[in-house]
Structure formats: C-alpha cells, structure tokens
Point group: C2
Chain length 155, copies 2
C-alpha cells in the first residue's frame, strides 16, 4: 500500500510526498493500458500478419473508438506507426517493449501454474499483476520457475 503517484496530473503536493513531476509533452502515453495494447497488437501481428483496429478492440474487449484513440496516441509516443484507415506497424521500440511484456506475461503465467492454480485464476491474476513486476523480479521468477520444476514442486 502507501503512495499513489498521482494519475499524472500536476502533482506538487500540498501535503503530498514526492512531488516528482516530469515535464511531459503533448500526449505520449506509458501506462498499464499501453502495455495491454502492445501485447495484443504484437500477438495479432505475429499471428495474422497485421493488426486491425477491430481485432485489437475484440482482443481487449473494448470499443473500436477507444482503440482508434489510443493507437493515435501511441503513434505520437513513437511506439507504432499509424496511417489513418490504412493500418499500423510497430516501431523498433514498440516491438521491443511488446516482446518484454509478452515475456513477462509468460513467466508469470508459468509461475502461477506451477502453484497449481486453476487456469481461470491464473489468467485473471496475470492480467492484473503483469504491469507491476520489475525486470529484476521477472528474472528472479525465471530462476524460481526452473528451481520448482527441477525440484518437482507439488503444491
């Protein structure tokens, strides 16, 4: 608990603690939502060869309008290249980020399965937790997974 971080607004806390406030330009996002989009987009591209707005929307379970809006901001943020009505492609950075996220997702999923949890719970917990795990922790989980596997851990 503790610490909220301020949605991103104009922190400078009257009573607040760390007033850290990055200048920030127009609209480049960097959030849990963006990670979900990247993950879905990468999966679509690697699966069907392209990522249409409608498929991203279906994959995330949200409206097409929401996707259009976010995709435009992600273009502004340099995560992907977007041409209205034409389609989109990930930039090098977007792909790299997407692959990190996907890896993290896999590691976490493997870990929870190792605990003997039912698939639906694994799925939901991974969904929620994945955006909050540092690279260091991911690495530690990779090692733990290997250990649990080799030691034949039975929940």
């Amino acid at each position: 608990m503790t610490s909220k971080k301020a949605t991103r607004g104009k922190a400078s806390g009257a009573t607040a603690r760390p007033p850290k406030n990055p200048p920030k330009s127009p609209r480049p996002p960097q959030s849990a939502a963006v990670e979900d989009y990247l993950e879905t987009i990468l999966q679509l591209i690697d699966t069907k060869g392209y990522a249409r707005v409608i498929d991203i929307a279906a994959g995330l379970g949200i409206s097409q309008a929401s996707v259009t809006n976010m995709v435009q901001r992600m273009d502004a943020g340099g995560l992907l290249k977007y041409e209205k009505y034409r389609g989109l492609t990930l930039t090098a950075e977007g792909r790299r980020l997407g692959e990190n996220i996907t890896h993290r997702h896999s590691v976490l999923t493997e870990f929870l399965r190792m605990l003997g949890l039912p698939e639906d719970i694994v799925y939901r917990d991974v969904e929620g937790m994945e955006h909050h795990i540092s690279p260091t922790t991911v690495a530690a989980l990779v090692r733990l997974n290997a250990h649990l596997k080799s030691s034949r851990y039975r929940p």
Copy 2:
C-alpha cells in the same frame, strides 16, 4: 493481457465483449485506490489509535483534499463511519477487508524477499501487484513461502 473491464462507466460494448453492467447506486467505490486507503487507515488505527485525514494523506503521499473526498465516498460505501471534522472508524466490513489486504501485502512481501530481491524493488513491486492477487493465489503463496523456507531456497 487482453480485457480491460471498462472503468465502470456505461459498458454495453459496441465491439466490446462482456457487457456486464452492475446497476450501481450513488458512489460506493471498490478499487485499488480504496484498498490503499484501507491499508493505511488500518495501520494508523492499530498504531496510533486513530486515523486523521492529514496522516492518511501523508501515508499515501497525496493531498488532504483528496483524502477527504475519498473518505466520504468510503463512508457512503459502508467501509467506514465518518463524521465531518470529527474523525472516522472502520466498520466491521472495512476492518475485515483491511485485514485481508494487509495479510496479502505481508505474504507477497515475504515471497519477494525470499527471491532475494533488494528491499526497494520488493516495496515497489508489492505496491503494484498486491491489488491483483486472488485469495486462492494468496493461499498458494503462503504454502510456497513455507516450502521455500523449509527447503532453504537460495536464489
């Protein structure tokens, strides 16, 4: 990834997936933010005997105004009893919830420490992840922690 859940607005997805839309009354909240508040409030009460707005604000690193606002909504949600300018007390439900949350926090912290992670990373990852772990997973982690301890797991 996949699935966003819609902030809570008026889902009914044009393209969206599960249009589940609970009626919802005035303002009863139930979110990660509320969990952070409950955790801080419970800690203050069990430590100092009471929880003042200014201390909650300091604990969460946000403004007093934000706390006042949330505390009023939590009162409406039945998590605590609040009297303007006078103070607040947790309801039975609020305390029960707070204790669950605190327990989850401890279990998760112990787990990450077991992985040999540095304290600052443990702290931040717990902050982020704790709101997304199901009771079932918490139980599984308790067992895993015991196992790792007895097997003298060394990262």
